[in-house]
Chain length 340, copies 2
């Protein structure tokens, strides 16, 4: 059993902890928090061993009556790997100040920069490259969504040039601090945005072949991408077929009532998914089109959860637990109850 420590039990960390717990070949040996909030209390209630991410804060947990086992330094030497789920930017500090010092393998999240790690992970594209490595980043929710769909397109034809406009959610559902409430924000206001290069950190062969622009809009549920991908030649049926064969992406039909990110999330709620997570990327079937060998489609990305199964596969690759990426994907999906 691979021993996994989750450093930072927040939006991503709590989901990775739950997903790891469900796997047969790995276990969560502890989760960390910086403060004794409701998430910390619920972690303990769920049976996770809780550690203070910042040693000086351990007493805060005790004062609040939250069961705390110790600090991260009491558990880190027992871990085979740490999944760092700290807020963006902190992961890099943790890598330098903790993981490298304690010589423990670590996964950083997409909020960190690509150059701080040995390689960048997507289960479809770079599993083999990350196999046995020590410090790897699982890319962001948007990059993960793009990598999966571009993998499907690439399996049907050759990509000549990909253009993507990302329409990003303004804040997560639990975030009452951020906006916008009533505005469209070009973010970044420059073109290209960083999303294209981030895809290339996983898929170097797309260097010079992908350009992205991005805006932020007032919604909390999902991101959305409008893709325009020039290819050497393909058909709509081939693309639909490729999507069907690619794990973790599926088509939805506006005609079926799945006509917005709101109804897609309602679908995830009706599926009974915990926290209504939709780890798979939803592609609108009606939007899929091929005109002059250029593939068009629109997809919805659940920003809180699409990277979770990737973190699980990344653990398996880095700890050399399974050398076939498709087998790891299947194991992860089955344990998590994903559609495919």
């Amino acid at each position: 059993m691979a021993k996994v420590l989750i450093n930072g039990y927040g939006s991503i960390g709590k989901r990775v902890a739950d997903a790891v717990s469900k796997q047969k070949d790995m276990e969560v040996i502890g989760v960390t928090k910086t403060k004794p909030d409701f998430e910390a209390k619920m972690a303990v209630d769920k049976g996770y061993k809780l550690y203070a991410a910042i040693p000086e804060r351990k007493s805060l947990f005790e004062e609040k009556g939250v069961d705390i086992e110790g600090t991260i330094f009491d558990v880190i030497e027992d871990a085979d790997i740490v999944v760092d789920c700290a807020p963006g930017g902190i992961g890099k500090e943790n890598l330098e100040n903790i993981y490298k010092k304690y010589n423990v393998k670590a996964i950083l999240q997409g909020g960190e920069k690509a150059q701080y790690v040995e390689d960048n992970f997507n289960a479809l594209w770079s599993y083999d490259r990350c196999y046995g490595k020590d410090y790897i980043r699982t890319v962001s929710c948007n990059t993960t969504g793009l990598c999966r769909t571009l993998y499907a397109i690439n399996s049907a034809t050759d990509i000549v040039k990909a253009r993507v406009v990302l329409i990003r959610r303004g804040a997560d559902p639990n975030d009452a601090k951020r906006g916008p409430i009533n505005a469209i924000v070009p973010n970044p206001p420059t073109i290209p945005s960083h999303h294209g290069p981030d895809v290339c950190s996983v898929v170097p062969e797309l260097e010079g072949k992908i350009i992205t622009s991005a805006v932020i809009v007032p919604t909390t549920l999902m991101h959305m991408h409008s893709l325009m991908v020039e290819t050497t030649g393909t058909t709509k049926d081939d693309i639909i077929d490729a999507i069907e064969k690619t794990p973790r992406i599926f088509t939805v039909s506006a005609e079926d009532g799945l006509n917005s990110t709101a109804t897609i999330i309602e679908f995830a709620r009706d599926l009974g998914r915990v926290r209504y997570d939709l780890n798979e990327i939803a592609i609108w079937k009606e939007s899929i089109n091929v005109v002059d060998n250029e593939v068009f489609l629109m997809q919805a990305v659940h920003q809180e959860s699409d990277v979770i199964p990737e973190n699980v596969d990344c653990i398996r690759a880095m700890l050399q637990m399974e050398d076939d990426n498709m087998k790891s994907i299947e194991m992860t999906n089955k344990a998590m109850g994903l559609m495919k």
Copy 2:
């Protein structure tokens, strides 16, 4: 003085009435309403002669004590031209049932279909084609915004292929009925959207060279467009220069704090614009880029007001009041107090 009747004093009609009133060579001989609401009362207070758009409803106005001159049929024969500002779909009915019957020239708005009229108007592209015509449509806010910017790009280079993703506002600010409140809606869910063909109704030479997709998001202030335009060759400086030379489009800088549609509207409010209308298209300077001869930019479109000066110019073209489109544009802009 050209005698102009405004049929439908709503979001567009009230603005067209005000813009026409400000011109030296035309006057508003009346405005119509279907019901005696606050807009009807304010029209009378502002000195417009008010007529019932639907004859049977005239008594409703009298019951409410709103000064009503009569019905549309009491004034239509005095008009040189009618600007139809009825809700989408009604304009076509009015064209068949009223304007053609009374043999009066008429302008329909962008909510009507292109095929119902003789031609489609944008002051930069199709003024000459519409000159002296009887039934013309001024295209929608989105199409108008695209036409202006593509005109600028076309003046600097040749357009090979334009790809545009439109991020549309969900509802106008006065509209408490429509959504979405928290969702991104692919609308239409099919690609291409109708916006490309609508641009071609004004610019037939772009046929087969423009493809658009569109989503609706929870905001009321402005639409936004992300443009990717392949050309035969140009530079960023040439594009900025072309934008500067093109009327009714201008650049804003995110660095200056104009970093969202919200701050662009704040800018219009600070300009003292009535109803905070921004008739000009705002292009983010930071977003303008040329990579491999492809022009990238993002622009904001004030959906309630960008078509207003076009309606004024369209009147001048159809009534053969001025044969130089650039002179008409200048007259209109000056009278309305536009930047350029």
